[in-house]
């Protein structure tokens, strides 16, 4: 499986820069100059990365991270972008 099936998102208004998600996965999250986190790119989570994305969610003290399953349409679109 190479298609993304989840999308991860950091709510910029809720993030306080604990950097727990970045520590869990620098592939999924990146920090700005102030140390505030956001998802890398569009937040697509490759299949093998789903576990790390869930860990990031489960360790954010501010509950700032959401993980949503992609719809069929989004899946198709993501697959097209990747191919």
């Amino acid at each position: 499986m190479t298609h993304a099936s989840y999308r991860v998102h950091v709510d910029p208004d809720t993030c306080q820069g604990h950097n727990r998600c970045y520590s869990v996965s620098p592939d999924l999250f990146e920090l700005d100059d102030l140390g505030m986190s956001s998802e890398v790119g569009t937040g697509l989570v490759r299949a093998g990365m789903a576990r790390l994305a869930r860990l990031a969610v489960a360790n954010c003290p501010e509950h700032a991270i959401s993980l949503t399953e992609l719809t069929e349409a989004e899946l198709t679109e993501a697959a097209e972008v990747q191919s």
């Binding site: 306080q16 820069g17 604990h18 003290p61």
Partner: protein
């Protein structure tokens, strides 16, 4: 530890965070209050409140309408008319409220992201190795006094660009500020004046000889195109010094205290380096050193409790971290705990600015310790003493070192 206050009878109605029972072991007290209250009250310190659940602690941390951070250390002395008023406070941004708080915080944040903190790691590692090398050949020594306490003070002294020789003086100042909170107000003021004098000299020296450190960074920093007034530079330096030292010292000491009593955790951590990241977070959760405080900003009803303007409120993040409603088996240290939204560094806008620094120091201190001393235990469990006040950690920690296994 000081004993200037009468002993506490019932912590629900008369709590005191300097009471010997609290200092020795606060966890059963919080567990009991969580069942019974969960907001305790005390007439001490002129009136104070204490919520002990994760939910209530979060509510207070996110509520900037009813609570002010103007003073964050509970003592007999509330901020006076001569002190910098809200929203700035004496030591911005920890004593600032929004929206001013955000402005100062944004100015400071770039200095504390993982990248600049990583630059301090080689110094920290060498420091830990030197401290351990100095214990060579000994089978018993005090890990709080001879190891843990030297690490954060020397790192922050280097970060601020002060002389390493001044590190010892800092530690005594900090003890006065943070631990001796039940001293009379005039005595505390006298001691604060000593700190100001030292910092003023440092600022003058850095203005005359600018260099690449945090002090010069603060002197040069601008808000709205203006440099900061000197009292704000000083206040922020004092904050960084105080906030960065006892706290991390406590965290390193408490982690060694735990490992000294848990051979299995010790072995796992020494042999499974990949466990270190979750272990550090779990040790931070279980032994979170810092309880913050707020002042009630205006009269209001907090879940049936009549909060009055000017009342103190202790904000015990360590108690939130032990709430069974938020953590599975909170009393159990699980080095591989996967779900760990701990609040050791606070919650919301005032999240500890130095959290990346503290984490780096704790991780490096444990890595270097375990590399040299994988097997050790408490020499005299009864001889371990804990700090009083809002920062909790071992201040005496005599350990016996076992060489070549046992």
């Amino acid at each position: 530890m000081s004993n200037r206050h009468p002993p506490v009878g019932d912590f629900a109605t008369d709590f005191d965070h300097t009471d010997p029972a609290w200092v020795a072991d606060p966890y059963p007290i919080w567990d009991d209050l969580r069942q019974r209250c969960p907001v305790a009250h005390s007439d001490r310190y002129g009136g104070a409140w204490l919520p002990v659940t994760h939910d209530l602690v979060s509510q207070v941390a996110y509520d900037h309408e009813h609570f002010t951070s103007r003073s964050v250390v509970v003592s007999e002395q509330r901020p006076g008319p001569d002190d910098l008023p809200a929203p700035i406070g004496l030591s911005p941004p920890i004593t600032s409220d929004p929206p001013y708080h955000s402005i100062v915080r944004r100015m400071l944040l770039p200095a504390f992201t993982p990248k600049p903190i990583a630059a301090l790691e080689p110094f920290t590692r060498e420091l830990c190795r030197d401290l351990l090398a100095a214990t060579d050949g000994r089978t018993s020594f005090d890990a709080a006094v001879e190891y843990a306490q030297h690490i954060p003070v020397r790192v922050i002294v280097r970060f601020l660009g002060f002389r390493q020789e001044d590190a010892d003086m800092f530690r005594s100042i900090i003890r006065l500020v943070l631990e001796e909170v039940d001293l009379p107000a005039d005595e505390r003021e006298e001691r604060f004046a000593e700190v100001d004098t030292y910092m003023n000299a440092q600022i003058e020296d850095h203005i005359a000889h600018p260099r690449d450190d945090l002090t010069s960074f603060l002197i040069e920093a601008e808000i709205d195109g203006r440099k900061l007034p000197v009292e704000q530079v000083r206040g922020t330096m004092i904050l960084l010094m105080i906030a960065g030292i006892d706290t991390t010292w406590s965290s390193i000491g408490a982690s060694l205290w735990h490992l000294a009593q848990h051979p299995e955790d010790r072995r796992r951590l020494a042999t499974e380096p990949a466990l270190m990241d979750t272990a550090v977070e779990e040790l931070l959760r279980a032994y979170a050193p810092v309880t913050m405080a707020r002042l009630v900003a205006k009269d209001f009803d907090f879940h049936g409790h009549p909060f009055k303007e000017g009342d103190w409120l202790l904000l015990p993040f360590p108690a939130a971290n032990r709430d069974p409603a938020a953590f599975e088996n909170p009393g159990l240290v699980q080095l591989d705990r996967a779900r760990n939204r701990h609040a050791a560094f606070g919650l919301g806008r005032h999240r500890c600015l130095g959290s990346n620094l503290a984490r780096m120091e704790l991780r490096v201190a444990l890595e270097e310790w375990l590399a040299r001393y994988p097997d050790f235990e408490l020499a005299h469990p009864a001889a371990v003493t804990w700090s009083a006040g809002q920062v909790r950690g071992p201040r005496t920690l005599p350990l016996t070192i076992h060489r070549n296994g046992r």
